[in-house]
């Protein structure tokens, strides 16, 4: 949405200030406790280091979070993201060897599109509650993907160009980052240069008023689910390109939860309405930084979850407005 050009509020009041601060704090903690965490070097002609890893690993999550942001902005939720990741990755891997890159990508995104259309249909035409509508695909989706592979992990050996999306480098940086930047940029442009952002928020805040004002509420809702699935499809291709295989049962497992978490950490409200694409991207980075830091610090696996929980609590509470008033009092 067009933001006011002359922000009367100081910089630290900016809605993104707190997520950014949380991210910075995490990085500082990591840098202090893990020697060389911030170290970057050039290896094989590209940047190499934990920071690059974080960006690289967060890419699929960022794609999923972008879509989830819009879905949540319309008061919806999409729990089928992980399943769509599995479907798209599988379709891509099954076809890429025999039919070539272009067809495999088109088919994978086509499959994701179908998933989105299905979700959109259930939510906007049939009027099912979003969580149930998408739960159906969440349950069945992995089954469909496994059906394609007969339960096997499909390993891709050829063509090498397939590995470029999830493992290649461009200008010294992972290709996946450029993909996220492009998708994110295009989405932001779509939101700013068209009325889509306005409509999405309107539908999320007050669907009744939106309808009376002449907004095509059903079409908007339909769109966000399709968009979200497409993003998930791209993420699926990225993940399977990265590990050079499709694992229908495990690819993108619980990605939907992380995506929702990313959106909320970035300041999005699950009750719909105002959204921030940049905030969600930062939210995704917070999650990945946390995971990477935990790995790097050598936290024992059985403690990992507790650490994660505590950090999420801390980040949320520090971001709440009640906290600031509380502290002052």
């Amino acid at each position: 949405m067009p933001t006011p050009r002359a922000p009367a509020t100081p910089l630290w009041r900016h809605p993104l200030a707190r997520p950014v601060a949380a991210l910075a704090l995490l990085l500082i903690v990591a840098a202090v406790f893990v020697p060389g965490f911030l170290h970057l070097e050039i290896k094989d002609g590209h940047l190499y280091g934990s920071l690059v890893d974080i960006l690289h690993r967060a890419a699929p999550l960022m794609l999923a979070a972008l879509g989830m942001t819009l879905v949540i902005a319309t008061r919806g939720i999409d729990v089928s993201v992980g399943a769509v990741v599995a479907i798209a990755g599988t379709v891509g891997c099954v076809l890429v060897g025999s039919h070539g890159l272009a067809i495999a990508f088109a088919a994978a995104l086509g499959a994701a599109l179908l998933c989105g259309l299905w979700n959109g249909l259930l939510v906007s035409a049939l009027g099912l509650q979003p969580i149930i509508a998408t739960l159906i695909l969440m349950v069945a989706g992995r089954g469909l993907a496994q059906l394609l592979t007969d339960g096997q992990i499909i390993t891709v050996y050829e063509p090498a160009s397939f590995f470029w999306l999830g493992g290649g480098y461009l200008l010294g940086l992972p290709v996946s980052l450029f993909v996220v930047a492009t998708v994110g940029g295009l989405t932001a442009l779509l939101m700013k240069r068209t009325a889509l952002g306005l409509f999405i928020q309107t539908v999320g805040i007050n669907p009744v008023a939106a309808r009376l004002a002449g907004v095509r509420t059903a079409a908007i809702v339909f769109f966000v689910y399709v968009y979200c699935s497409l993003g998930a499809g791209l993420a699926g291709l990225m993940i399977s390109s990265n590990i050079k295989s499709a694992d229908a049962n495990n690819a993108g497992l619980l990605l939907e939860l992380d995506a929702i978490l990313a959106v909320t950490l970035g300041g999005g409200q699950l009750s719909g309405g105002k959204f921030s694409l940049a905030g969600s991207l930062i939210g995704a980075l917070i999650i990945q930084t946390l995971t990477s830091t935990i790995y790097a610090m050598g936290v024992p696996p059985q403690v990992t979850m507790v650490v994660k929980a505590v950090v999420v609590f801390a980040v949320c509470i520090s971001q709440s407005s009640a906290w600031s008033t509380w502290r002052k009092a």
């Binding site: 969580i131 739960l135 349950v139 469909l144 059985q302 999420v312 949320c316 709440s320």
Partner: protein, 322 residues
């Protein structure tokens, strides 16, 4: 008929009819399906889910959500097992402690949600990580429970008629359901929960006890989760950090299938029963079929879920139009 159609509980009735249809289909296709014990097994096997779903109903009716229930269940089994097997506490005390602990865990989440004005989703998601993580801090391995009380409760069969039986766990679940119904419809707390779901801002302006109710709702859900944990412990006789993975989604699905609206305010606690039974029936159907591969199992569950929800929705729409 007309009155039935006009009743606000129409959606719930649709569920019951559809469920009967589903059962009929099973009875027609598979031998041994149409037996009393199969029906009772639905209740026995899903007792813990029913208890969680009752707690979840309140949370969802109040316009919130609680993702931590599955983990709290696991934590309860773990703590109970540890206290019984390692610390050798008496079983009655252990039961009291874990129930209180679960309620406190839930209430604490409610407090964080209320005081810091945070979203329930994110707080309970963190609660989910926390509870699951605490399990592994106690032990990564499973702990077998052999306390006599638990073993007895686990293996008692309450005979009904013609050889059919019910487990104590199932009985407890039914009692919890009854209590839930009573609380929702006959107490001020229950009505405030509905009011919160209808419009929290209005409830606040109407001078209702918004904060207290919110904390209590999550406390209740935590209590139900730990009670479900006990039922689970009776059922499995073990404490384990991986128990009941993803049960929160099952519970939410059950509540929503039972006709409660996820955004709060509309629905019935009784719906939880029909939701749980539908999910259970779908699984029983698949187990009786016994020819589906792992992936077809998922697809068929999804498809049945879809058919059920779509039919339910279309019938409700038709009623709204007519």
């Amino acid at each position: 008929m007309k009155r039935l159609l006009a009743a606000p509980s129409f959606t719930s009735w649709v569920s019951v009819v559809l469920m009967a249809g589903l059962f009929g289909a099973g009875a027609a296709s598979y031998t041994g399906f149409a037996s009393t014990q199969v029906v009772l097994n639905l209740l026995i096997d899903n007792a813990f889910l029913l208890v969680i779903a009752v707690g979840m109903s309140f949370v969802i009716l109040s316009g919130g959500i609680d993702l931590s229930v599955g983990s709290v269940l696991a934590l309860t089994t773990m703590v109970a097992a540890w206290l019984l097997q390692v610390a050798h506490w008496p079983a009655e005390l252990v039961i009291a402690v874990v129930l209180l602990g679960g309620a406190a865990f839930g209430a604490l989440q409610g407090m964080v949600i209320h005081v810091f004005k945070l979203q329930a989703f994110i707080v309970t998601l963190a609660g989910m990580f926390l509870a699951r993580g605490l399990c592994f801090l106690i032990s990564v391995d499973s702990i077998t429970i052999d306390a006599p009380l638990f073993v007895t409760l686990s293996q008692t069969q309450i005979p009904l008629f013609a050889g059919a039986f019910l487990s104590p766990g199932a009985l407890i679940a039914v009692v919890v359901l009854g209590a839930g119904l009573w609380i929702a419809h006959c107490t001020a707390f229950g009505r405030t929960v509905y009011a919160l779901g209808g419009s929290e801002a209005s409830a606040l302006m109407m001078g209702l006890a918004v904060g207290r109710t919110k904390v209590a709702v999550y406390g209740l859900s935590g209590f139900c989760a730990s009670l479900a944990g006990l039922l689970f412990a009776f059922y499995m006789l073990s404490g384990y950090g991986q128990h009941a993975q993803g049960v929160e989604l099952d519970a939410i699905a059950a509540v929503v299938i039972g006709g409660t609206v996820l955004t709060g305010g509309y629905g019935y606690v009784a719906g939880a029963l029909s939701g749980v039974l539908v999910l259970g029936l779908i699984q029983t159907l698949i187990a009786f079929d016994g020819t589906l591969s792992s992936w077809w199992t998922k697809i068929v569950i999804g498809a049945l879920l879809f058919v059920f929800c779509a039919v339910q929705r279309l019938l409700s729409l038709k009623k709204a139009a007519g």
